[in-house]
Amino acid sequence: MSGILASMIDGLLIGSVYGLAAMGLSLIWGVMDVINLTHGAMIALGMFGMYLLFGASAANPYLLLIPVIAAGLVLGMIVYWLSVSWVIDRPQLMSLLSTFAVNMMVIGIGTAIWSTSPYNVNFSLPGITVGAYTFTGNHIAAAISAVVIALLLELFLYRTRAGKAIRAVADNRDAAELMGISSTQVLMVAFAIGIALAAASGALVSTLFPFTILSGASYQLKSFVVTVLAGLGKPFGALVAGVLLGLLEGAVSPFIAVSWIPLIEFGLFVVVLILFPRGIFGRATA
């Protein structure tokens, strides 16, 4: 019994990183109604960004999150200009395909550079031992970092003018334009923040598990599940839902093979979409 509990606590820690990844997806989806299919590739780039920075500097990985996030913001603006800016008002099919095309290009370049063999960031913090179980320090530190970044985003969205502008554009772009908000700039900033969050979560994952350039795909699937659990455009809800998903994984993983987990997540995704189209935390009416 205590084994399940330990597994669930570990799931909770990792779940907060899932939540961070999903916040990026949710923000972009909520603000501009674009489903960002570069998400998985950006998570993978975050992993390799951390790998390269750590290899070059051997600095504390949690400090290295700052340059990863900065690089994510710049990359986000480039991707926005390349694949999103011109499809904003076109059918959703187009934005799906255009972000997807960028995803293929990033994965292609990544495969050419790093092949698909696994890498890891060789860093470990001392863990905390409770009875027969040890919670690794990296998992705890990753969870704390994820929650801190999530809180900073929440402060930005609800306590600054720029954050208010993003929320205004998400609510009603035309009305926001009439109030003198330049929506093109706001959309670019929101997209860049979304990508930076994806990169940050990838950087945190790289301190937990070995990874390949294709690893982002499974976190992308988790992000979709978390986003629909939380309901669209609710970044903080995404963090909570991410923790829930982690808990669930922790609860089932002692009993089944890891390779079944995508099946369970996908089942959850479809069931939630059909039963709660506005998310578990969504209101009944819009």
């Binding site: 489903i35 390349l82 694949s83 011109w86 499809v87 959703q92 099919l93 187009m94 799906l96 395909l97 255009s98 997807f100 095309a101 960028v102 995803n103 293929m104 290009m105 994965i107 292609g108 370049i109 495969t111 050419a112 795909a217 499974s218 699937l221 979709f224 629909v228 093979a257 390779s259 079944w260 987990i261 995508p262 099946l263 997540e265 996908f266 089942g267 995704f269 479809v270 979409l273 059909i274």
Partner: protein, 321 residues
């Protein structure tokens, strides 16, 4: 009706050329090239029924091909069925499964459906990798005895080739037939405005589930034939995500929503891909080039090559469907 449409005869001509070219002179290398083009055309033209006709993106179209391969190989190797009934049964089984899946996930609209199809791919792959009877992650092999009723491997491979050409022709005929049918009009209505279509009496959920299931049949048959030809199957080659994605590139390149476009895009892209994969300098970058091509097509010519032709020669619409 069908007989008066030029494309009908063009499809027959295409199939005849595909069948005759390698057989004449017994050119096995050419046969192997053409079989890849034929499979690309089968996958793309059936994907077109979803993306082009109905406006629903299916990122996991390869699931049908892979599952068809698995069911077919299972029947041939474990149950020692003949190739043809095994391939047909694989098609029917996968179609029925798609219909059941479809009635569930097609209640999701637009982008949500697209996301669910990524999930279908992941879930089916996870299932097959854990399924005891299908050899888990090591997959299944075709034993030598399976070739005996067909007169040995050499004859069996030619037979498989002709069958795949037949499936290719049927795929294009299917697209052509649906295009001018009442059912096809219902699909186009869903693509243009699903709510309006429902108000006008189109049973959207049923139509979508049917087309999802129909688009599964021939790819599953092709999968059974193709994996028999290859002699083996395992989860990573059966559900190759990249092939699923490249199908979308082929379709957009040729022109989504048109029969000729799906064939043209598949043929051109498949040749380009073979060239890139065999070129030592470019092989690592073939995904990058595919992605850039897709981005350029949707940016500059959302109608693809056929859409471009329509704009250049408006009258071509009546001939090239």
């Amino acid at each position: 009706m069908m007989l008066r449409r030029p494309l009908f005869w063009l499809i027959l001509l295409l199939a005849a050329v595909f069948a005759w070219l390698p057989k004449h002179g017994n050119n096995v290398a050419l046969r192997e090239d053409l079989i890849l083009v034929a499979v690309a055309i089968i996958l793309t033209s059936n994907l077109n029924l979803m993306i082009g006709y109905t406006g629903y993106v299916n990122f996991g179209h390869i699931v049908f091909y892979g599952l068809g391969g698995y069911v077919g190989l299972y029947l041939m190797t474990v149950r020692s069925w003949h190739l043809i009934p095994a391939a047909l049964t694989a098609g029917v089984a996968v179609s029925v499964l798609a219909l059941l899946f479809g009635l569930g996930i097609l209640r999701l609209r637009g982008a949500y459906f697209a996301l669910a199809t990524i999930g279908v791919l992941e879930a089916v792959q996870a299932f097959v990798s854990n399924f005891e009877s299908w050899g888990r992650s090591t997959g299944m092999y075709v034993s030598f005895e399976s070739y005996v009723p067909m007169g040995g491997p050499k004859h069996a491979l030619w037979l498989t080739y002709f069958l795949i050409i037949g499936v290719m022709a049927l795929s294009l005929m299917l697209s052509l037939g649906i295009r001018r049918s009442k059912f096809g009009l219902g699909l186009f209505a869903i693509r243009e405005d699903e709510d309006a279509a429902i108000v006008l009496g189109v049973n959207a959920t049923l139509y979508k589930a049917i087309i999802y299931s129909v688009s599964a049949f021939l790819p599953a048959v092709a999968g059974a034939l193709m994996f028999f030809k290859n002699g083996m199957i395992d989860p990573s080659i059966a559900f190759e995500y990249m092939l699923s994605l490249e199908g979308i590139v082929m379709l957009m390149l040729g022109g989504q929503g048109t029969v000729a476009g799906s064939a043209l895009g598949a043929g051109l892209y498949e040749r380009l891909r073979s060239y890139l994969l065999t070129s030592p300098r470019l092989s690592a970058f073939h995904l990058v080039i595919a992605g850039a091509l897709l981005l350029l097509v949707i940016r500059l010519a959302p109608g693809g090559l056929i859409g471009w032709l329509y704009r250049l020669v408006p009258r071509s619409r009546e001939v090239i469907e």
